[in-house]
């Protein structure tokens, strides 16, 4: 009689749980030194449940299948010169942000999950983190491969890794992950595994990727969806982690809530750049940022928090502010980049009249009142041959490191200022959310590497901004940056398309 095939529950038990062992002669605490200091209490790791019950053999099998599909499409994309099929060369600038701002985070996630996976005492959680770590490494590799094709034809892709470590706006995503990775393993899981993966990455990898498809970028949508097929597993891991912590001990509830409050706030700040990519950088529109936010944050996140209410978990703090900000942040962010277009590693532009009308339609409460006038001014200046590039350097928020571009939600033309004094020094924030995070752990955030201050301290070369951009950031000044109009990218595109 042939051996009966194991069902997945038994297979998971044998290939995961049974790989663990007892500590007979070594001190278990020495083996897992990071497990206690955050105050999280785990009484029984065996209660950990992984609903996908994916074992290593099945993992390799399905990941290999995904890779084969993905690389077949990359080959087809390159062989058919499919970069010529994108809707508009302006679109490519969103992909430059992706490569410099997002792909390096995949690498940070890989490192973070490798560390966290090592530090958990429970074998189920360790295996799940190990798989996620490998996934994240796959994501950064496939993204670099996909975008290397664009690097042959467009400017601004050449130094993504170097730029991630130095460029002023890239300190925002970099410091976000640095914060998570320097926290303990449980906070890392609530930060990245739960808050980021469960709710926030959806906004980048689902509606934005659908937008990439709609703009003719087959390579990006394919790596995006291929990555996101792993995210579905990551989301499930994130949800299991939180349920596990909440069920293990009632003292964990308050700690977990604090982390949720922190990381949903930090995440919504980080996603400001995705908001801008959706509303301003996709020439063919799928949905507005506000609509995407309503589906993936308010509806999906709302369902999640209703489900968690039975543990005593409530919606993240400042959800009311976050809800109002969906009407504003994409416009505030694109204006910031437009006016700093001389210092960005990609091109910026005034939206077309058709695009301005689309924004009015999608944001009837705010666009014409607060944001259209900015574009009228920009057009007026451009018509006079004085394309607006701001001078000087902006004040930054100490926590999120974003320029202080956010406004009071009850007074949307007023910059939102918050500050606190710690050990005799003053620190500034864009919001109560960012201020709370600092005040909870000032010894962490006094170390913020704020690009503007680093420039003033002479740590970035210069002092001339042009020298900083070229020598310290490695941007090709006058090529990678400035307006889309008249850029080498635009000129080449016109040549390829045979238009004057």
């Amino acid at each position: 009689m042939a051996a009966k095939k194991l069902n997945i529950k038994d297979k998971y038990r044998l290939l995961t749980r049974d790989l663990d062992w007892e500590y007979s002669y070594a001190d278990r605490k020495e083996a897992f030194p990071y497990e206690d200091f955050e105050g999280i209490k785990i009484t029984d790791w065996s209660k950990w449940e992984d609903p996908f019950r994916l074992t290593m053999d099945a993992y390799w099998k399905y990941q290999a299948e995904k890779e084969k599909k993905l690389y077949a499409i990359f080959d087809a994309f390159a062989q058919n010169n499919a970069h010529l099929n994108v809707s508009d060369p302006r679109y490519i600038n969103a992909i430059k942000i992706f490569l410099t701002g997002v792909s390096p985070l995949e690498y940070q996630a890989y490192q973070g999950f490798a560390h966290t996976g090592r530090q958990f005492g429970g074998v189920g959680a360790r295996v799940a983190c190990q798989m996620q770590s490998l996934d994240e490494l796959r994501h950064v590799q496939t993204q670099i491969h996909a975008m290397s094709h664009f690097n042959k034809f467009f400017d601004g892709f050449q130094e993504y890794s170097h730029m991630h470590d130095r460029v002023w706006y890239l300190s925002v995503p970099k410091s976000f992950f640095n914060d998570a990775r320097t926290a303990g393993p449980f906070e890392f899981m609530i930060a990245i595994g739960f808050s980021f993966e469960y709710v926030l990455t959806n906004l980048l990898f689902v509606p934005f990727m659908s937008g990439a498809a709609h703009n003719g970028d087959m390579a990006t949508v394919t790596f995006g969806f291929s990555a996101q097929s792993d995210e579905a597993r990551h989301m499930t891991l994130g949800l299991e982690v939180i349920k596990f912590l909440l069920e293990q001990h009632e003292d964990n509830v308050e700690i977990v809530q604090k982390w949720i409050d922190k990381w949903f706030w930090r995440g919504s700040r980080l996603l400001t750049i995705v908001a801008m990519m959706m509303d301003y950088m996709l020439p063919n529109k799928v949905m507005s940022w506000k609509e995407a936010w309503e589906v993936y944050f308010e509806e999906a996140g709302g369902a999640l928090f209703k489900d968690l209410a039975r543990y005593g978990i409530r919606m993240p703090k400042y959800s009311d502010i976050i809800e109002k900000e969906k009407e504003h942040i994409s416009h505030q962010a694109w204006w910031t980049f437009y006016t700093h277009g001389h210092a960005a590693g990609f091109h910026t532009w005034i939206p077309t009249d058709e695009e301005l009308d689309w924004l009015s339609e999608k944001y009837p409460e705010t666009f014409d009142k607060y944001y259209r006038p900015r574009w009228e001014l920009a057009k007026e200046m451009e018509a006079k041959g004085e394309r607006f590039y701001t001078k000087g350097l902006p004040q930054l928020c100490t926590t999120c490191q974003i320029p202080m571009l956010f406004t009071e939600m009850d007074d949307p033309t007023q910059t939102s200022y918050r500050d606190t004094v710690y050990n005799g020094d003053r620190y500034h924030f864009c919001s109560d959310g960012c201020k709370d995070i600092f005040e909870d752990e000032p010894e962490k955030f006094v170390q913020s590497w704020l690009p503007v201050h680093q420039i003033f301290q002479g740590n970035c070369g210069g002092p001339d901004v042009g020298d900083i951009l070229s020598d310290f950031y490695h941007m090709n000044v006058g090529v990678d940056n400035m307006d889309m109009k008249g850029s080498p990218d635009e000129l080449r595109w016109k040549q390829w398309k045979g238009v004057a």
């Binding site: 996101q228 989301m235 369902a303 209703k306």
Partner: protein, 89 residues
């Protein structure tokens, strides 16, 4: 009751999976977007292996779903015969 959801890449395999989901969960809403198909349902949604196999005309392992999956929302329960999503509240 909140909505659970699943999104699949829009391709030949997914189309059979969507057909199977529609057959087994008659109240689902299917939303077609560029390159993806999003399926939502109040409270619960189940993908049954048997129904998918019938639609595809071949054996299908529930874990093959991972190949075409984009995202999902809800508590997951998976075994050899089905994958289901649900919210407790």
């Amino acid at each position: 009751m909140s909505k659970v959801y699943i999104a699949l890449q829009d391709n030949d395999e997914s189309r059979y999976i969507v057909e199977a989901i529609e057959e087994d969960n008659p109240d689902v809403t299917v939303i077609h977007m560029p390159a993806m198909i999003r399926i939502e349902n109040e409270g619960r949604l189940t993908v049954n292996r048997e129904t998918v196999e019938e639609k595809m005309g071949r054996d299908w392992d529930v874990q093959e779903l991972h190949v075409n999956l984009i995202t999902l929302g809800g508590n997951v329960d998976e075994d050899d015969d089905s994958l289901s999503l649900h919210w407790n509240e």
